[in-house]
């Protein structure tokens, strides 16, 4: 077993299996088909609450210059904002005095935490013969996070370790099927870290869902949890290998 990649057909089988399990576990994975083609990808969306420390909000890598951090904050402020105060009166127009007093609204607010929407896609990379995790994160306004912001949402202790590990390969790439900018975990090291897992599994004659096993390694890096129940509950499930 020298080559530990995956062919496209096995990829699809693994995905189908994962989908069945996800259905049972209500884990939210779905298969999305690209309009006008027979290509598709696994998709899941998830929400994460990021607690913001305002002074270090988008502190990139923890080793950045002051100015860079500053400019990131400025951008953030600039990019998703209520319409500026100058315009506020303008915008209300015929509206403000008509606002009905509504005492049936609860005033419990979410606080100063930031809610981020994450969208995860699993695609097959023909060139590397492995699955690839694409993802993007955006605010509730729909503004995508920059790579710096994505890094900043990773805990600093974790971040430093990640950046020196083989998983430190988050890059911005055009989604091969959607054509929109996404981040991806670069697949150049995937085979390398999958090899021992697969070899061990083969040694013990245990079935392995390549996509699931791979996902449980790379997912947590970008906040995607893979419930242990995939493994414990569903052990008897058939494996395409």
């Amino acid at each position: 077993m020298s080559w530990c990649g995956l062919d496209e057909q096995s990829f699809h089988l693994c995905c189908q299996l994962l989908l069945q399990q996800s259905e049972q576990l209500n884990d939210g994975w779905s298969w999305e088909v690209v309009q006008g083609s027979d290509e598709g990808y696994l998709k899941k969306t998830a929400l994460r609450v990021v607690n913001i420390n305002p002074s270090r909000k988008w502190d990139l890598e923890g080793l950045n210059s002051e100015s860079e951090t500053q400019s990131c904050q400025d951008t953030e402020r600039d990019q998703s904002a209520p319409v500026s105060t100058d315009d506020a009166d303008d915008f209300k127009g015929n509206f403000d005095e008509e606002v009905v007093e509504d005492d049936s609204v609860c005033s419990e607010a979410a606080g100063s935490s930031l809610v981020l929407q994450y969208e995860y896609h699993i695609l097959f990379s023909c060139s590397y013969s492995v699955p690839v995790l694409y993802f993007r994160a955006f605010t509730l306004e729909g503004r995508s996070l920059s790579l710096e912001e994505v890094w900043s949402s990773v805990h600093p202790n974790f971040r430093l370790r990640l950046q020196s590990s083989p998983l430190n390969t988050i890059t911005l790439q055009e989604h091969p099927l959607l054509g929109q900018p996404f981040f991806m975990l670069h697949p150049c090291r995937t085979e390398e870290f999958m090899r021992p897992v697969l070899q061990e599994a083969q040694h013990r004659h245990r079935p392995v869902n390549f996509v699931l096993t791979w996902l449980s390694v790379v997912g947590p890096v970008v906040g995607l949890e893979v419930p242990l129940k995939y493994c414990t509950l569903l052990r008897p499930a058939a494996s395409p290998d």
Partner: protein
């Protein structure tokens, strides 16, 4: 629990039921799709459009109650994500910001509220209760700036007196036995299967100690025929422990309208259904009892509320700037930068990219070398690139000069400097490129034919002086030797870093000129020169330039500090003259192997980048071929004085040489004359034969003394 305070507050307020409003949540794909729709379909059509959102009752604690719109929002008949409830909305996309501002929001809300009210009156809402959770979205898409203005409204009909709570909300598990909870879950799943969906927004239920029954809203009369104990269920997207979410509001209006006169209290189940780590739970659903207010059948449409507050908590629209992720030019810029950052993150952590990207580069010559240098500079993310060239593009150029095309040669040919700027901007709109179609006066090429030619030469010199002052690095990329003389003198005088590339047939030289020590005091010569006296690298260096460390084992040609290095002319024993008249092999570079310009052009830029990475910039000690095994002085490696390449042997060597005190370009006497006399001195050089400079610098004397020893750029026995 945090709910303790709110509980106290609500009991003081006579136990009125309060609802958690929806927060709008837009996925990036929604804005992409709206942009496409606006460009392809809607264009200037402002009429209302039907769109679809969804909400979910399985959020973990702490998330806001959301109505989500994704890219599929425009496909009304498309699928809704599993276990989510869809909500139908009306999109009003205005053509102008002004129309967005002046749209009558109150009227929009009232119109929608009236439709809901009519559906309640007619009974349509019973059959299809999804009309109770309709929404409005008002947008203006500024597709020039990729700014999106938007305002959501979730219309809710109001009871004037509010809704009285009879029994406080409790978690389901505190009221129901485990058996009842699982019976409820089964009943709900059964209802979903019966209706062929994965989520039911509204339902009715009744229960005993060991059974739970559920039915659709429209089956009300038959379902509750045998009981007075009425419980309604709502698929509840809220996670607060004391409050139901928004979708319950209009349902209660429906109940009050149809059964308010018969019912006193109603049980409400806020059905919440989450799966964490593969374990499903509905125990945290809320259950409570309210007193249903009465609504007269002939009453007018109740007043309505629902416009969403902005992030400041005020009534107003929101704006999101998506230029970073939607404007193709911004995408190109961020991708270029990202590529470079990856180099730093993954391979060279100490790489100072800002120093490179912010360097202002002046390219003298926009031919084979100039084109290749410009492209490599763009690869490094350099934004400010200025071309100087006086030639037009000819038919032979495009195949060797990668910034030009056949079309550029037609009609006499475009100016190279201008065409290069256009092409750079096409390749990467983020570049800040300028072109100057001008000649550089040269020694031995007289300018004194007339007053006009003299005045033109003076203007050209002034322009060149100005350009050199305004840039950080000067690239000498011309095709004649003598045209490099004037910029060498000016740049040496202004203490600017010079990178010089010259081609033979299958040999090239790429070199940095020695950077003279900073002038003492300011404005001695070239007073116009601003603070950036040399490269940004050297200006940030704290060590005074010239105090080069003495390294053991130094010989004459090793460890030469940057300020003692020679220039292109230092190795010459003849002054530059008209090379189109007395050509020597070394001096002409129009005929060269085609790959050579790409190699030399790329090396010129890479040399600049390595110099910039050195803490002393242009004052860095010259690395030589012998340093190849030593610890490199920068994160990128060596900082040589010269790279001499021999294509026939596919080999490069890294010689270093000292500045020559009789150099015709950078010797003190030349710089001194230029500093004192300026253009008068230069015009004498232009108009005289080469003996003028040779006499001035003492070369003539040297010639006589040394019997014209033949000295090539490099002797044959120099080691490789």
């Amino acid at each position: 629990m945090a709910s303790g305070t709110s509980e106290a507050a609500s009991s003081a307020a006579d136990l009125k039921l309060q609802f958690a409003p929806f927060s709008s949540a837009l996925e990036a794909g929604f804005w992409h799709q709206l942009t496409q729709k606006k460009l392809d379909d809607y264009r200037l059509d402002e009429s209302p459009k039907c769109i679809k959102g969804y909400y979910y009752n399985g959020d973990p604690l702490g998330l806001p109650t959301r109505l989500t719109l994704e890219f599929s929002a425009f496909e009304i008949d498309g699928p809704t994500p599993a276990r989510c409830c869809s909500a139908i909305g009306t999109l009003y996309n205005t053509n102008t910001l002004d129309a967005f501002k002046t749209t009558d929001k109150k009227a929009l809300l009232e119109k929608e509220a009236k439709e809901i009210w009519e559906a309640i009156q007619s009974g349509a809402a019973l059959k299809d209760p999804s009309i109770l959770s309709r929404f409005i979205l008002l947008t203006f898409a500024d597709l020039k700036k990729y700014h999106f203005y938007y305002w959501f409204c979730f219309p809710a009909l109001c009871f004037p007196e509010g809704i009285k709570i009879v029994q406080q909300p409790s978690m389901l598990e505190q009221v129901f036995s485990a058996k009842q909870v699982s019976a409820l879950q089964e009943a709900y799943d059964g209802l979903c299967i019966k209706r062929g969906t994965t989520a039911v927004p509204y339902f009715i239920m009744k229960y005993t100690d060991d059974a739970v029954q559920m039915a659709a809203l429209e089956d009300w009369d038959a379902f509750f025929a045998d009981t007075k104990k009425v419980t309604v269920g709502v698929y509840d997207p809220c996670t607060l422990s004391q409050h139901p979410g928004w979708p319950l509001r209009n349902l209660l209006v429906l109940l009050a309208y149809r059964w308010g006169s018969k019912l006193d209290t109603v049980g409400v189940l806020c059905f919440r259904d989450r799966t964490l780590q593969g374990s499903r739970s509905i125990q945290h659903s809320l259950i409570f009892q309210i007193k249903l207010p009465e609504l007269l059948h002939n009453s007018a449409c109740p007043k309505s509320v629902g416009w969403e507050k902005n992030p400041k908590g005020a009534m107003g629209p929101r704006m999101v700037n998506l230029s970073e992720c939607m404007d193709p030019k911004r995408l190109a810029e961020s991708s270029v930068d990202l590529n470079l950052k990856l180099m730093r993150w993954r391979l060279v952590p100490s790489l100072d990219l800002d120093k490179v990207v912010s360097t202002k580069c002046l390219l003298l010559g926009a031919g084979t070398l100039g084109c290749n240098v410009a492209r490599t500079l763009m690869g490094w993310g350099v934004r400010r690139i200025t071309f100087v060239d006086n030639a037009k593009i000819s038919y032979s150029n495009p195949v060797r000069q990668p910034l030009y095309e056949f079309e550029d040669c037609l009609g006499g040919g475009k100016s190279k400097a201008m065409a290069a700027v256009d092409r750079l901007t096409k390749i990467f709109p983020g570049v800040n490129a300028e072109g100057y179609n001008m000649s550089i006066p040269m020694p031995g090429h007289p300018v004194n034919f007339s007053q006009a030619t003299l005045a033109q030469a003076q203007r050209d010199v002034e322009q060149l002086e100005k350009l050199i002052s305004e840039h950080d690095v000067v690239f000498l990329l011309m095709d004649t030797r003598e045209s490099r003389w004037l910029p060498t003198v000016i740049a040496a005088s202004k203490r600017k870093l010079v990178v010089n590339a010259a081609l033979g047939f299958d040999t090239f030289v790429v070199m940095r000129h020695g950077l003279k020590k900073p002038l003492l005091g300011q404005g001695v010569s070239a007073g116009a020169d601003s603070s950036s006296s040399c490269s940004s690298a050297s200006s940030s260096s704290s060590t005074p330039a010239g105090s080069a460390p003495t390294v053991p084992g130094s010989s004459l040609f090793s460890n030469i500090p940057g300020h003692k290095l020679g220039c292109y002319f230092c190795n010459d024993v003849v002054a530059p003259g008209d090379s189109t008249r007395d050509r020597t092999l070394d001096q002409q570079c129009t005929v060269s192997r085609p790959g050579l310009a790409m190699i030399a052009g790329a090396l010129a830029v890479e040399m600049m980048v390595s110099i910039l990475q050195h803490s002393e910039g242009g004052y860095a000690v010259a690395s030589s071929s012998d340093d190849r095994m030593n610890e490199p002085p920068t994160s990128l490696g060596l900082v040589p004085h010269q790279i001499r390449g021999f294509l026939s042997r596919f080999d490069n060597v890294l010689p270093a040489s000292l500045a020559f005190d009789k150099c015709t370009a950078c010797s003190p006497i030349v710089l001194d004359h230029y500093g004192r006399e300026g253009f008068n001195f230069l015009s004498k050089v232009f108009n005289s034969s080469h003996s003028f400079l040779e006499d001035l610098t003492g070369l003539t004397l040297l010639h006589q003394e040394t019997q014209a020893a033949e000295i090539w750029d490099m002797s044959d026995d120099e080691s490789i």
